[in-house]
């Protein structure tokens, strides 16, 4: 089967504009601008069943249709602040298949009537920003971006913007604050960005992978895309596989492929042939899946993963085998979220700090069962109280880890012992 998002794996030089155009590049955009109404583009995306690839899985076409058409101008922002531990798909897409991504941005802009789009990249992607700037210039030179495109009245410019290295700026409202030059802290929602976004104007924020799907959907039609994947989750997904597997990396598979297929067929199985103990399906923000035979055969789509008490999220599959102690895992995730909490809301600012204190105490030195209970209680106490999702994410692995792997907290697995 041909690749949809990771097309550079089929067509090696697709990062060159002429190669991309030879393979049908920018036909979808040109056709849309010349022959389709903006609503028509949105309708195709809606029909295709494309859902946001950033983690929340919100139907993309529906998001586009929410844009407030009474308030102008509109903006499109590509969320390239890929900071979730275990997620590395957007980087590969932008590095190797940049034009398909940029065409996706352009199509989104046309669909919602935006004349400017921003690509918000995490600070560490500074090289990538320069690379994308080059590509955007090429498009401008080729007349595929800029004023009065294809002899119509539609104009479009795309700009890149570098963040300063905060995980929270992947949250869409914090991203917008940061883009406006303010502190990267989430805003109160509602209102949501399609109503009040960048500079208080209606804004669509989409993940890089989501947008990269769009050109082929417009080109090949909604029905084609829908035929890939499962009824609940249409199309293909790039799974970032990492952890204790032989061949970690990005794998583009249709939704519905099972964990077993990903880990054993594509990822070459677990290191040292050890059994899979747990899976974190959405990077550090995941609820830990307690892995048994049934879990391994669960198809990876939004609905099925939910039956395992977790969420597919951004599909950053971190594989944990029996050499790894879950109390060590959650200590790492807590440390990450404590470091990345923006500090705006109380439960997250204080809760992550408090959890880290307890986790460190419980992990090094003081082994008090009451501490594990307290850790669980603090995490539960944070749930449902925070301003944005970061605070919730911080508690996922803690609560599920303690609930599903209680023995790891009583007798932590000795790493050294198992690895040799």
């Amino acid at each position: 089967m041909a690749f949809v998002v990771l097309r550079h794996r089929d067509i090696l030089d697709i990062k060159k504009l002429e190669v991309y155009r030879q393979n049908g590049g920018f036909e979808a955009f040109q056709n849309a601008v010349k022959n389709l109404k903006p609503d028509g583009v949105t309708q195709v995306v809606k029909d295709s069943g494309l859902r946001g690839r950033g983690g929340a899985g919100f139907p993309t076409g529906m998001k586009w249709s929410f844009i407030d058409s009474k308030n102008w101008p509109h903006y499109v922002v590509a969320n390239a602040d890929e900071s979730e531990p275990g997620t590395f798909k957007d980087r590969e897409i932008m590095e190797s298949n940049p034009f398909q991504f940029l065409e996706g941005v352009a199509l989104a802009c046309y669909a919602v009537g935006a004349n400017s789009a921003y690509i918000y990249l995490r600070g560490e992607f500074w090289q990538l920003a320069g690379f994308l700037d080059e590509k955007i210039n090429e498009l401008n030179d080729a007349g595929l971006l800029g004023a009065k495109l294809f002899n119509t009245n539609y104009s479009l410019n795309i700009y890149t913007h570098l963040g300063a290295g905060a995980y929270i700026c992947g949250e869409e409202t914090a991203l917008l604050e940061s883009l406006e030059g303010k502190r990267g802290q989430p805003r109160v929602r509602p209102p949501f960005p399609p109503a009040v976004g960048l500079y208080n104007k209606p804004t669509i924020v989409n993940n890089v992978e989501t947008l990269t799907n769009v050109p082929l959907i417009i080109q090949n039609g909604a029905a084609w895309y829908k035929s890939l994947g499962t009824p609940d989750s249409a199309g293909v997904k790039v799974f970032s596989l990492s952890g204790r597997v032989r061949k970690p990396g990005n794998y583009e598979l249709p939704f519905g492929a099972t964990f077993r297929q990903l880990i054993y067929e594509h990822g070459g199985g677990v290191l040292d042939g050890r059994p899979v103990k747990a899976i974190m399906p959405a990077g550090a923000s995941s609820s830990l899946i307690l892995v048994d035979e049934k879990a391994l055969d669960t198809p990876m789509d939004y609905a099925s993963v939910r039956t395992l008490g977790s969420d597919l999220g951004s599909a950053s599959i971190i594989v944990i085998d029996d050499t790894v102690s879950i109390d060590w895992v959650i200590q790492k995730t807590i440390h990450f979220f404590k470091h990345e909490s923006c500090g705006k809301c109380t439960p997250c600012r204080e809760g992550t700090y408090w959890m880290m204190n307890i986790a460190e105490r419980a992990h090094n030195g003081r082994k008090d069962p009451a501490d594990v209970e307290l850790l669980h209680a603090v995490a539960r106490q944070m749930q449902g109280m925070c301003l944005c999702a970061l605070g919730e994410f911080a508690t996922m692995s803690v609560v599920t880890g303690i609930d599903r792997f209680p023995s790891d907290f009583k007798n932590p697995v000795n790493l050294q012992e198992k690895i040799v």
Binding site: H339, C342, E350, N357, M385
Partner: protein, 815 residues
């Protein structure tokens, strides 16, 4: 009136205006939803998560838009998680539970989280006793924390943000109220958050630190003891303080304040002022005061207070009895007849000014207000009318500020005008140089010093500004004395008044002329019929002068000379001064903190102040001293009861008609609710229980005929070659006798600084901060130079009351 929305909070059915937040709606209905980051004057942010409640909304049928019914009642849908009451607006049919198990658990959790990093050093905290965190912990917190005390964060406990405000990083709960106040209300975004997560801290980005004249207000709205003022730091525990309502005497805004007093060992066990706090009056100062009003109160406790009457004998001042002092003054006044002059200050109460004026009238003398701004009689004719509220003006109202830097001259007016623009009012700022209000103005007009009247004449021209002016429903003009003397400001006032009258912007609410006076009660003096004198030195020569609350000799050597040549000087004041040295008789008066009285604010609101401190020595209130002199001169005045004196005043002066002390003491419920029981909500601002005051009527609002004389004025003097035009400007922190004793303000007062354009500085070969000698009008002094490219070339601005005796534009030499 706004559309009303009906909702149920804790089973109580209430109606509130559309767009209200649930937290505010609950407060209106007297239901407590605890908050930290939310403040009714600030935009909501939903940061602290203290106001978590259960909010249910009626389900609407998608097709019909009607409520879905269940058992005849709308079906209510609750979200699975708690929501913040401060960010959700009310909706029809909404149901809110603030006391349910889960809501209470949420509030308890937030308190527990907040206290994990809080040092719990309430015994040494200045906020202890009036601390929202303390109160809400008692009301909503768990009795015990599960957090290990040893693991508490230790941070800096004494971090000066500036020399006025200190930050305790441990106590800060990162609610951002201070940051948002500075940004949204004050328009001085000089503090902000640094770092993120648990390391997030308040920092200042200005030099000098926390460079804002509203900085003290952040300590009022801070819900913990993180921000404290240098002045009150460890001064007293809040519960030990006594509170006395008063009116700020520093500028014409007339901010309502509360004076907190306490015994002090250093003052030998007598009562002293420990701090000045704002007192709510939504029509005057809302819940804010400026730093000058907050910190510059020490003058009443200064060592140089006059406490005993004195008479000059054999060229020396010696102690005398009240009777003999009054007798001597009365004899000399009565003899003088036409040569008798009352030179009174706008620091006096209405009753004092009234008695002084009637004494002058009775003796056929003259009553002169000691001020450098003319044209005040016009504010009495077409000034602001009753029912004006700057806090409510919005679309349809045009506010004009001409020849005044409100940020420096009347900070609270600056703040109120800025808020009015936010609500949709149009603001036109006309000034020769850039002022802070320019940032918020809809239109900025720059004119050359001397072109003030011409600028006013062009306000109704056919252009954008003219349209904004003429098409407005309401227009208020604030005129000041930037670069003007008595004659210049009188001409400006007359031009403004004529324009307002021509377009009918007079005699109705939210219309009229406002003078940005130099002192708190200048407006009162204008209402009584005082006049100003442009050439005081010549005028005073050979006269019998009754100087009340003024220090001309200290302000200007030319005036000192004129007073030396006067026939007889009676000085009635609170402080020793250069003028009191020259006196033939000294009559020690009580400071306004020691007595009762009323001030008339620049917005023509009469407000009462009450005694806060015990009477000092043998001092007497001004109106009583004047009445005793009058009695000696055979003229009966009210000299015992200040309220009776006010009654006579209100019978005599038409604009004060029908007012009385009891009317001035009336209060009405105000929004937002503040007060000791609601500290967490509005801050430590005091509730107004002692009167909101009352507006004066104007000639125009009474429907009488208004005559406005056209005042001609000599054009500004032309400086010769190698001269500059020195123009007077007003600074907030000056070297006036009421400001200088405030030691905390020492750095803000600084040295006399003149400003000039960089080209001029280059020509004179001076650098920024360099010392120069400036001489004008036979007077010279040293000053620091500030290079400012917004100052027109050929001009040097000279601050008033900073040691350089400037009264009007004069050619000056700078070396």
């Amino acid at each position: 009136m706004d559309k009303q929305v009906t909702l149920t909070i804790d089973g109580k059915l209430i109606s509130v205006p559309e767009g209200t937040f649930v937290a505010d709606a609950a407060r209106m209905a007297d239901i407590d939803i605890p908050v930290f980051c939310h403040h009714p004057k600030l935009e909501p942010v939903g940061m602290c998560r203290m106001c978590l409640v259960e909010i249910g909304r009626p389900i609407r049928d998608r097709a019909t838009g009607q409520f879905v019914l269940e058992n005849g009642q709308p079906k209510i849908q609750f979200l699975p998680k708690l929501e913040t009451a401060c960010t959700n607006r009310v909706e029809d049919g909404m149901v809110v539970h603030t006391q349910s198990e889960s809501a209470k658990a949420g509030q308890k959790s937030t308190i527990e989280f907040l206290l994990t990093s809080h040092p719990l050093d309430c015994p040494v905290c200045d906020k202890g006793g009036e601390c929202p965190l303390q109160n809400l912990t008692m009301a909503h917190g768990a009795g015990k924390s599960r957090f290990l005390y040893d693991e508490k964060l230790h941070l800096e406990k004494r971090k000066p943000l500036g020399e006025l405000i200190y930050l305790d990083q441990e106590r800060c709960i990162q609610c951002g109220r201070c940051v948002r106040f500075q940004d949204e209300i004050a328009g001085d975004p000089v503090i902000g958050f640094d770092e993120r997560g648990r390391s997030m801290q308040i920092m200042t980005s200005s030099e000098p630190g926390f460079d804002s004249v509203f900085s003290g207000n952040t300590t009022d709205i801070c819900p913990v003891g993180a921000l404290t003022t240098a002045d009150f730091r460890f001064g007293a525990r809040p519960w030990e303080l006594e509170e006395f309502p008063s009116i700020c005497s520093q500028c014409p805004v007339g901010c309502n304040i509360t004076i907190n007093t306490r015994r002090e060992a250093a003052a030998d066990g007598s009562m002293v002022i420990k701090r000045i706090m704002p007192r709510q009056n939504e029509t005057v100062n809302e819940i804010w005061i400026c730093d000058k009003g907050r910190f510059a109160y020490h003058y009443t406790e200064s060592k140089g207070r006059l406490t005993r009457p004195a008479i000059r004998k054999d060229g020396k001042l010696s102690r005398a009895s009240w009777d003999s002092a009054i007798k001597l003054a009365a004899e000399n006044f009565a003899e003088a007849g036409k040569n008798f002059v009352v030179l009174a200050s706008g620091r006096l109460a209405n009753e004092d000014l009234f008695n002084l004026k009637s004494l002058a009238d009775h003796l056929k003398g003259d009553a002169v207000l000691y001020s450098e701004i003319g044209g005040g009689e016009l504010t009495s004719a077409i000034g602001i009318s009753p029912d004006t509220n700057l806090g409510e003006v919005g679309p349809g109202t045009t506010l004009v500020v001409i020849a005044s830097d409100l940020y420096q001259e009347a900070p609270i007016w600056y703040l109120r005008l800025k808020q009015a623009v936010r609500r949709g009012a149009t603001l036109i700022v006309a000034n020769p140089r850039q002022t802070r209000l320019d940032d918020h103005a809809s239109y900025v007009i720059r004119y050359a010093y001397g072109d003030e009247v011409k600028t006013v004449h062009s306000l109704d021209k056919k252009n954008k500004i003219g349209e904004a002016f003429t098409r407005s429903e309401n227009v208020i003009i604030f005129y000041g004395s930037e670069g003007l003397g008595v004659e210049g400001s009188a001409a400006l006032a007359s031009a403004c008044a004529k324009l307002l009258n021509e377009y009918g912007f007079a005699g109705k609410p939210n219309n009229g002329l406002v003078g940005v006076w130099q002192r708190a009660n200048d407006q009162g003096a204008w209402e009584m019929g005082y006049r100003v004198e442009a050439d005081l030195p010549r005028f005073l020569r050979g006269k019998v002068v009754y100087l009340v609350g003024v220090d001309p000799a200290g302000d200007d050597p030319r005036l000192a000379k004129a007073l030396e040549n006067a026939k007889f000087l009676a000085v009635q004041d609170i402080l020793e001064s250069a003028t009191s040295e020259l006196a033939d008789v000294i009559l020690p008066a009580q400071a306004h903190t020691e007595r009762e009285g009323t001030f008339t604010s620049g917005e023509r609101r009469v407000q009462r102040y009450y005694p806060a401190l015990p009477v000092l020595g043998e001092t007497r209130p001004d109106f009583a001293i004047t009445a005793q002199i009058a009695r000696q001169a055979g003229f009966i005045q009210e000299g015992t009861s200040v309220s009776a004196a006010f009654d006579i005043l209100s019978e005599t002066i038409p604009s004060y008609a029908e007012l009385s002390y009891s009317k001035l003491a009336e209060v009405q419920p105000q929004w937002p609710v503040v007060g000791r029981g609601d500290l967490y909500y509005g801050g430590t601002t005091y509730e107004n229980k002692h009167g909101l005051g009352a507006h004066l009527t104007t000639t125009a609002s009474r429907g009488e005929n208004v005559h406005i004389l056209r005042v001609h004025r000599e054009s500004a003097p032309r400086p010769q070659e190698n001269e500059l035009l020195a123009v007077p400007v007003t600074r907030l922190y000056d070297r006036g006798t009421t400001v200088l004793p405030a030691k905390v303000l020492k750095n803000r007062i600084g040295k006399a600084t003149i400003s000039m354009h960089p080209d001029i500085a280059e020509r004179l070969n001076v650098k920024n901060g360099g010392l120069v000698k400036i001489s004008f009008d036979g007077h010279s002094g040293e000053a620091l130079v500030q290079i400012d490219k917004t100052i027109p070339a050929g001009v040097v601005t000279v601050p008033r009351s900073m040691g350089l005796a400037i009264h009007e534009p004069v050619p000056a030499k700078v070396k």
